[in-house]
Amino acid sequence: MFKYSFKRFLAALPTLLVLMTLAFFMMRAAPGGPFDQEKTLPPEVQANLDKKYHLDEPLIQQYGRYLFDLAKGDFGPSFQYKDFSVNELIATGFPVSFRLGVSAIILAFVFGTCLGTLAALRQNTLTDYSVMTAAMTGISVPNFVMAPILILVLAVYLKWLPAGGWNGGAFKNTILPIISLALPQIAYISRLTRASMIEVLRSNPIRTARAKGLPERLVIFRHALKPALLPVISYLGPATAAIITGSVVVEQIFGIPGLGRYFVQGALNRDYTLVMGVVVFYGALIILFNFLVDLVYAMLDPRIRY
């Protein structure tokens, strides 16, 4: 187990390095720089700015400098938010995104598995059809359509919830963004659970359990649920990635000060350091999460041992 973890850790480093290198050079390949604006700057001012942020050095040297600083845990100063360093911005933005993301994943997992199980147990009934129709809709309607609709109905017309903003993380402000983020995942997870549950319910161990005369409740919760959840667990890795991508949009729509919003604004403004910071940070996070998922997988499935 420890050996496996160590191996995974070593394998993660080159992945991160490749990710970082790609992001670094792709960012620089985009036309326009962080200080370009409609009005051209006086050459002396431009030169000073370039010097200050080391943009006057050859690209490869900048890359080396970035790696070196990163090894020390320094993401550099933000080009766009001049009063802050990228480390500070990530430190303020991440807890916000983390809270949104984790809540959305938990919500998606709980609701998704419950709905999926329900649909599987009532296969080919009205319940099954309505859950699956809802799920299909959930998958096909993207966040950026769902979120404004939710705002319009629940915030503008009914005035039950705020239309946006973070407000220091007040519970009321988190409800709509979390729902918007979780909905597509609830839909996806419920479909996954349903399919796998139906398969498990038809398997021999379950038939045996039923033949023994175990109550249906026990059959489902003790014997069927665990194997049925395996595909869902392995989906949690990609789900994290999906939630992170989704948060980019949702944070923008709700005006939430999270990492996703920095990423979009950073990319548009050619804030090299901020974009790199978010990419590296999220990259590491996704790798870590996939690793955790694999560990959980081993706990649930006795056939897998590291």
């Binding site: 985009a30 009005k39 002396e44 001049k82 705002i151 239309a163 005006g255 000060p257 548009l268």
Partner: protein
């Protein structure tokens, strides 16, 4: 495939335009039946008068566009950051709610007869937010810090009228040589290169704001945060959470504190205008920063009393790349293309937002100035189009041998709508085959500046100070925003004359002459003069619009509601 798509879009628009053209009554569609007229038929309000008893809680919530980049006034750029800076800081002069210049950090001033020397008496009761007095040294330090190339100010050039400023920016003279001399603690003498009638208005710009001597000397970037930032305006910073909100509170040391009603202001960074409108409707904002154009009708009909549209010192135009064919040395072609565009359809039908159709260069609403107008401003549509076809043929093109060009614009629904409509008009009148190229902002700017692939491009400019020169100077052959590559020695010479002219009447004549000189070359195609639409809650008192759209929180108050 892309081309087919474009052609389809073009035809659809064309149909739409012709269909709308004959139908004057489409505004009635959503109005109620009977005698009562719809809000859509009423003219939009350009002024707003809300008065009433004051609310016990004086807390103002403003939408403020995209997140500001820095609280350092000397490095700041963009409208959202100036909105915050105007609340935090105060220059030597200040603006009254109607936009006129009144004493600010300086209580009075004297101008020498030749208009070159300004002597400011600094207000003795002026205080920083920590209670220390604001002195002439602080103002001089602010100006020096702004022009110091080490600061990296993007607006340093705006101070070019001050003696030696340009040399300091270029790094050839020391910062101390700036023409801002401290006579004593409360007297500051500023020497200019030439008479600059708009100079007092300039002293209200963020790049001139004072700073305690030695504050945030280079490399010290952590000073512009709550707890450290010291400001001399009506408010002081209490909290800034990037991408969430920025809070300021009353500065008790402000010299005019007794006339400031507002205790606390919260600025919300909301780039997306639809989001802003939703949050306004949900009651989370007292006033918006902007408004989505596509909701203009809805807002006008449903929020008529809260909706205000005021002229704004800005111009929207298309530029021609004059350094490459087909536009190089081809005045006829440029003029033909300009003539073929019907500004009225663009503003009334395509945008429908009350923008002012425009043929001149200096936006409408600048005091004591009358625009130079090219002949087409008074021609009928038929006359313009007939002349366009004639010139187009003189330029060597026809419907059989059509011109093929690309229109470049940066990503935005409104820019796209306008580009589609212009392409359709060119196609309809002249048979021009125009391809639309949408580029992300930084890519777009890069291409525009390099003048290699760009042919026709979309552009806009908001004036930094309310003087025609803030627009005229843009097209000087060496100016940083002269992206058409306009180079006319006569025009450059006129600009130098304007800078040296001290007599206001003569200066105005020279400016009108310069504008006419520029317009006759058709380096650009002006489309409309800006307006600033905004929605303001009825409980916001004291709101008054002005041409620069400088709305200071201290001039507002919250009415009991």
């Amino acid at each position: 495939m892309k081309r087919i798509q474009h052609v389809l879009v073009l035809w659809c628009t064309l149909l739409l335009i012709t269909a709308c053209g004959g139908d004057a009554g489409d505004n009635h569609a959503s109005g109620p039946d009977g005698a009562e007229t719809s809000n859509l038929d009423r003219p939009v309000k350009t002024t707003m008068v809300n008065t009433g008893e004051r609310h016990s809680e004086q807390y103002l919530r403003r939408g403020n566009g995209s997140e500001i980049q820095t609280l350092d006034p000397h490095k700041a750029e963009g409208v959202p950051s100036s909105n915050v800076h105007r609340d935090l800081y105060e220059g030597l002069t200040l603006e009254a709610p109607d936009g006129s210049i009144i004493p600010g950090g300086a209580e009075s001033w004297e101008i020498s007869d030749d208009g070159l020397i300004y002597t400011f008496k600094i207000r003795k009761n002026g205080k920083w937010s920590d209670g220390t007095p604001v002195t002439a040294q602080d103002f001089a330090y602010g100006l020096q810090r702004s022009v110091n190339p080490a600061t990296g100010s993007k607006y340093s050039q705006i101070l070019a009228p001050i003696k030696n400023a340009e040399e300091i920016i270029a790094g050839t003279k020391p910062v101390e040589s700036l023409g801002a001399e401290v006579i004593d603690d409360y007297t500051l003498k500023i020497t200019l290169n030439g008479p600059t009638p708009y100079f007092l208005g300039l002293l209200n710009h963020a790049s001139t704001y004072p700073m305690p001597v030695g504050f945030a000397a280079d490399g010290d970037e952590n000073m512009f945060r709550a707890g450290k930032l010291i400001s001399n305006g009506a408010f002081r910073l209490t909290e800034w959470v990037v991408q969430s909100h920025l809070d300021v509170e009353r500065n008790p040391y402000y010299w005019d504190n007794e006339n400031n009603a507002i205790d606390k202001v919260r600025f919300f960074p909301i780039e997306d205008q639809s989001t802003e409108l939703k949050r306004y409707r949900a009651g989370e904002l007292d006033m918006t920063y902007d408004m989505p154009f596509e909701q203009f009708k809805w807002v006008k009909e449903n929020l008529y009393d809260e909706f205000i549209v005021a002229p704004y010192l800005g111009i929207y135009y298309y530029g021609f790349n004059l350094t490459k064919p087909p536009f190089k040395d081809n005045l006829e072609l440029r003029r033909a293309l300009s003539l073929a565009v019907d500004r009225n359809i663009l503003t009334e039908k395509v945008l429908g937002t009350g923008h002012i159709p425009f043929y001149s260069w200096v936006p409408e609403g600048v005091l004591n100035y009358s625009n130079a107008r090219p002949p087409e401003a008074t021609m009928s549509k038929a006359e313009r189009e007939a002349l366009a076809i004639e010139l187009f043929e003189q330029a060597g093109y026809s419907k059989e041998e059509p011109l093929e060009i690309e229109i470049r614009y940066n990503t935005s629904e409104n820019h796209k709508k306008i580009a589609i409509a212009i392409a359709a008009m060119w196609s309809q009148v002249l048979g021009v085959k125009a391809e639309l190229v949408n580029e992300e902002w930084k890519v777009f700017l890069e291409n525009r500046k390099q003048k290699q692939v760009t042919q026709v491009f979309r552009a806009g400019w908001i004036g930094d100070y309310a003087d025609p020169f803030s627009f005229l100077e843009l097209m000087h052959s060496s100016h940083g925003i002269n992206d058409p590559g306009y180079n006319n020695p006569v025009y450059d010479d006129l600009l130098s004359q304007i800078s040296a002219e001290g007599n206001p009447d003569k200066r105005r004549q020279l400016m009108e002459q310069a504008e006419a000189e520029f317009l006759k070359d058709y380096a650009v195609m002006p489309i409309y003069s800006y307006i600033q639409p905004r929605i303001v809650k009825p409980h916001v008192g004291g709101y008054q619009s002005n041409i620069l759209d400088h709305i200071l929180s201290k001039n507002l108050y919250i009415i009991k509601h």
